[in-house]
């Protein structure tokens, strides 16, 4: 039973890591067509995420793989119930990766503009739809003994859309803070002034999300019954405040604050869901929880050992990579991808 709780936390952590890391490069992808004034700006934007975006996306694959290994029933229902939105996310990620990699390998202007549109859409779609999907999971999905009773349109309800937009604006803020951290000169100044505007928009949607969650979800019941847990949403808010405060004084602290905001935003949702991964909005008896949808204790134990040995190694070399590639890209010298 302890292992189930541990894997529930790991499940939340993997999604949180994915959003905090891929979040900024998705944000840069959404900014790409609007922010870059010159080809040099584009090259700088791509170089800023070039060495890391691919490994960032692996957190998503790991989150999917871990859900499969630890909570196979949740994996099966989550992905088959949310079939079309998930497929759209996949199309987005496929298109995005290819457009990003091939942008500076082709010469044909028509294909280049198609690739740039693809990079934008491929960044926007996953950000928005993952938000929509999680907004709906927070509310609970219409599941009973006959399966799932929703479709793509029922997912696009107000709370689902608020969460989707919150993800997009939070990633835009996260991306512009990363860009200011990695650049200098004109592009750095513009990224910062954009981040300041995005900060207010993110704050607005974060408040809207937290308030409307009170009315349409059960996310708060865990927090009201165990008040110490309120630390989690408070850290989320502090992260967002930190991002606003540090914008002018420290680029790295502003970026890290925004990462903390995203991590604890995810945990606010996950903590409110507990013990469910996918609650049923019809009858809690059909909710998929950390206990009724899990693998055997044996498999959970095997996976725990794997995680204990290998995740520190992964974190170590990922940290080294970020350190190696945290240099400022010199003005006019961005090399593209």
């Amino acid at each position: 039973m302890v292992l189930n709780i541990l894997w529930f936390i790991i499940w939340g952590l993997l999604w949180a890591m994915y959003f905090a890391l891929d979040g900024f490069d998705l944000g840069i992808g959404i900014l790409f067509p609007f922010f870059a004034k010159t080809d040099q700006d584009k090259k700088t934007m791509l170089e800023s995420i070039g060495p890391v975006w691919d490994a960032n996306e692996v957190w998503l694959i790991t989150a999917g793989g871990a859900t499969f290994a630890a909570f196979p029933t949740t994996y099966a229902y989550m992905f088959s119930f949310l079939y079309l939105p998930l497929m759209l996310i996949l199309y987005g990620l496929i298109i995005r990766a290819v457009c990003l990699e091939f942008r500076y390998k082709v010469n044909n202007p028509t294909i280049i503009s198609l690739l740039e549109i693809g990079f934008f859409l491929g960044s926007l779609l996953p950000a928005l739809l993952l938000g929509v999907a999680f907004g709906n999971i927070f509310q609970g999905l219409p599941i009973d003994q006959n399966g799932y009773h929703g479709n793509l349109l029922t997912l696009l309800n107000p709370f689902g859309l608020i969460t989707g937009i919150l993800f997009v604006v939070a990633f835009l803020l996260h991306g512009s803070l990363w860009l200011s951290f990695r650049t200098e000169g004109d592009i750095n100044v513009r990224a910062k002034s954009l981040a300041k505007k995005l900060w207010f928009i993110t704050l607005f949607f974060a408040v809207l999300f937290l308030v409307s969650a009170y009315f349409v979800t059960n996310l708060y019941s865990n927090y009201f019954s165990i008040p110490i847990l309120l630390v989690v949403p408070i850290l989320c808010v502090l992260g967002l405040l930190g991002a606003g405060i540090f914008i002018n004084s420290s680029e790295i602290l502003a970026f890290l604050s925004s990462a903390i905001c995203i991590i604890f935003l995810t945990f606010t949702g996950v903590g409110g869901l507990y013990p469910n991964l996918i609650p049923s909005s019809i009858n809690n008896a059909f909710s998929l929880s950390a206990f009724n949808s899990s693998s055997s204790q044996y498999t959970l134990a095997v996976m725990t050992i794997v995680v204990i040995i290998f995740v520190p190694i992964v974190l170590f070399y990922k940290f080294w990579t970020y350190k190696t590639f945290s240099y400022k890209i010199k003005e006019g010298e961005g090399e593209g991808y």
Partner: protein
């Protein structure tokens, strides 16, 4: 057409698309790492140019391998939910381990390699490419452990209406998995070496960058010769393991309908599935099938007619694919022996026709790997987990034909566009040769 059939086609198509790009990643990664090692050791600039030239082609190909793989991981959940519930306790673990052990390593150090030319020491840069080559093969190991479990389920009990893992080491050290893994990666090495030899041959025919491409050809030929022999030998052991654990697949590979002692292999054979027999059987080599399958000329080999008719796979595609694979495998050994000999004696430029043959042979290992998977996967039908779970019972319950048709259509259009773009870029950069900036 129902949702099961469409889901099968969709999965089959995405898997085969994925496997256009994966084998080259496996083989070319190692070759690029070897080239960079040569530069590190000799400081000869031509090896650096070589590393950058083949490295660019590696990267172009790599992207498509990655993105088509993500789709596969999620399709287990989207289209095969009943399968995922039934086997998730066992099957999910290698997938999650693959991501944790291999994907992070691969993608992180690919980024380091690509952007690290001026940022890290030459030694660290060299380590990066070896880590990329190592981890893409490690990733193949975990995915093939998962696949092998579907072929030969081990280390589990049936409990709570699903297969639950009882012995992780039985799953990881399954002989089927290791035979499949070594057969697959050596096949990938063959793909990589024919890719390098084919493109080098093109430039040698045009007498461009002769030194660079002669050296590349020699590296490819040496690597390819070893790989071609290994893939053949391991394939032989693999077939013997198939005979042992999947008798219906073996019988389909040879289109053997009736159980026979000292079973022969026919040089010419035409299956007739509707009559459950062969239309033509000519030129038998006595006892060869028994010998290959059980390493005993007098062994009895079970024929397809000894199994219930709804338990046997489609015979013709499996039989044909197997023959093509073995035929090509033999050809690869002959070609790489010649290639290695001519390259070693520095006689490549004199044998222009041989260079042409090597150029046009470039696609053949791709064909061999694709038909190899047809043998493995079609040969397993009607089971998704051999002897345990039928493919028909594995599909998601809530899927509609419209859903699958829509996503399948988009996949086909999208993947085709990407593949065209990818091949166009590969051809463009392969023909262009090393760039000024290299």
């Amino acid at each position: 057409m129902d949702a099961v059939m469409l889901s099968r086609l969709q999965f089959g198509a995405t898997a085969m698309y994925h496997f256009i790009f994966v084998p080259l990643t496996l083989g070319l990664g190692v070759l690029v790492a070897i080239m960079e090692t040569l530069h590190y050791k000799t400081k000869n600039e031509v090896y650096l140019k070589m590393t950058k030239f083949w490295g660019r082609l590696f990267l172009i190909n790599f992207v498509l391998g990655i993105v088509t793989g993500i789709t596969l991981e999620f399709q287990f959940g989207t289209n095969w939910a009943q399968y995922s519930i039934y086997v998730g306790d066992i099957f999910g673990a290698p997938l999650a381990i693959e991501a944790t052990l291999a994907f992070f390593l691969e993608s992180t150090f690919l980024g380091v390699w690509l952007f690290g030319w001026k940022r890290i020491s030459p030694k660290m840069h060299l380590i990066s490419i070896w880590l990329v080559a190592f981890s893409s093969n490690l990733s193949a190991l975990w995915i093939l452990i998962a696949n092998a479990w579907m072929q030969d389920p081990v280390g589990f009990v049936l409990r709570n209406n699903r297969a639950e893992m009882t012995n992780f080491f039985a799953v990881v050290f399954s002989p089927y998995a290791w035979l499949k893994f070594t057969h697959t990666i050596t096949a990938g090495f063959v793909v990589g070496s024919f890719f390098v030899m084919g493109i080098s041959a093109y430039h040698l025919l045009k007498k461009q960058n002769v030194e660079l491409f002669k050296k590349s050809f020699y590296i490819g030929a040496t690597f390819g010769l070893i790989a071609s022999i290994l893939v053949f030998l391991i394939g032989d052991f693999h077939a013997a393991e198939v005979a042992h654990v999947q008798p219906t697949k073996l019988a389909a590979m040879e289109s053997l309908w009736n159980t026979e002692k000292a079973a022969p292999i026919y040089l010419i054979l035409v299956p007739d599935e509707s009559k459950r027999t062969n239309m033509v059987e000519a030129f038998p080599i006595p006892s060869l099938l028994s010998l290959l399958a059980y390493h005993d000329p007098n062994a009895t080999v079970r024929g397809l007619n000894s199994f219930p008719s709804n338990d046997i796979p489609p015979v013709t595609p499996v039989f044909l694919s197997f023959r093509i694979m073995v035929g090509l495998g033999t050809l690869f050994i002959i070609l790489t022996v010649l290639a290695w000999w001519y390259a070693r004696k520095d006689k490549l430029l004199e044998h222009r026709n041989f260079l042409r043959i090597m150029l046009y042979s470039l696609p053949l290992p791709y064909v061999a790997t694709q038909v190899g998977w047809i043998v493995a996967e079609v040969g397993r039908q009607p089971w998704i987990v051999y002897g345990l779970l039928r493919t028909d019972d594995a599909v998601s319950k809530n899927l509609t034909v419209g859903d699958v048709l829509l996503t399948f259509g988009v996949f086909i259009v999208l993947y085709t566009a990407l593949a065209v773009l990818d091949f166009a870029l590969l051809i463009y950069y392969a023909r262009k040769g090393p760039l000024e900036t290299d």
